[in-house]
């Protein structure tokens, strides 16, 4: 019985492009592979920025509307605040030997994590496959994605 409850596959949906959300998603995907669990990421809505060649190196943390930043929203909106918070977080991330986004994507694909882009979101943002990273495994509809989630021990997580 216990064996049947094992996690076998993680299907992660990334819908946001703030640095903290992207890292949470990548660390979950990579952590799964390191445990011998399959993992796939479906990039949708703003999450697509994390696999857009021109954008992925410029992701930020959100300083407005994020109570856990402990910065009053009015100050968080001041010029330079996001850049400063982002710089601080990137420094911390580097100190912990967590790779930058571009290198992290290379690690994920080398580890066998599948990278999928959402078709509807691509149409919405006028994106073509050539705008996305070369390691992209393909463009999927929601139905295709659910189709890939079939099987015992699969979990779907929305970020």
């Amino acid at each position: 019985m216990e064996k049947n409850n094992k996690v076998k596959k993680m299907m992660l949906i990334l819908s946001k492009a703030t640095l903290d959300n992207v890292y949470a998603c990548f660390i979950l995907a990579n952590g799964a592979r390191m445990e011998g669990i399959e993992s796939e990421i479906f990039f949708t809505f703003f999450g697509l920025e994390a696999i857009q060649k021109s954008r992925l190196e410029h992701l930020h943390v959100a300083t407005v509307g994020n109570p856990a930043m402990h910065i009053p929203s009015m100050l968080g909106g001041l010029p330079g605040m996001e850049a400063m918070a982002t710089k601080m977080m990137k420094k911390k991330i580097e100190d912990l030997d967590i790779p930058p986004i571009d290198e992290f994507l290379e690690i994920l694909t080398a580890s066998g994590t599948k990278i999928w882009a959402c078709k509807l979101a691509m149409d919405m943002f006028d994106l073509e496959e050539k705008d996305l990273i070369d390691d992209l495994d393909g463009v999927l509809t929601v139905g295709d994605f659910y189709g890939r989630a079939e099987g015992e021990g699969t979990h779907v997580v929305f970020i």
């Binding site: 660390i27 011998g36 912990l96 690690i107 080398a110």
Partner: protein, 103 residues
């Protein structure tokens, strides 16, 4: 402290089967742990194992990123050499503690 018998000797191991004293490790011991992990060892495998042991002796915490930059193997090959949880498996065969990093 529990021990397990490998290659005719008793070696100290924790509950999860990771050796607790690298001094007790020999290639024969590694070979027998590899059998338990269902890994067929090749010279490439041993090269990686020896890299992991060097890192452990130098007190460098292991991450998948470090493996990628090791110059000994790359991440894709590492996953092929030690399928299903490569860093954990390789660490166990190398006689070093289970990696604690999430990345």
């Amino acid at each position: 402290m529990a021990t397990r018998a490998y290659a005719g000797t008793n070696v100290a191991c924790n509950d999860e089967g990771y050796m607790t004293n690298l001094e007790e490790w020999t290639q024969q011991v590694g070979e027998e742990i590899a059998k338990e992990e269902e890994v067929e060892m090749t010279p490439k495998h041993w090269e990686v194992i020896s890299f992991l042991q060097d890192q452990y002796r130098a007190e460098v915490p292991l991450t998948i990123r470090k493996i990628g930059k090791s110059g000994v193997t790359n991440i894709k090959e590492f996953y092929q050499l030690f399928p299903n949880g490569p860093l954990k498996k390789a660490s166990r065969i190398a006689g070093i503690p289970k990696p604690v990093s999430c990345i």
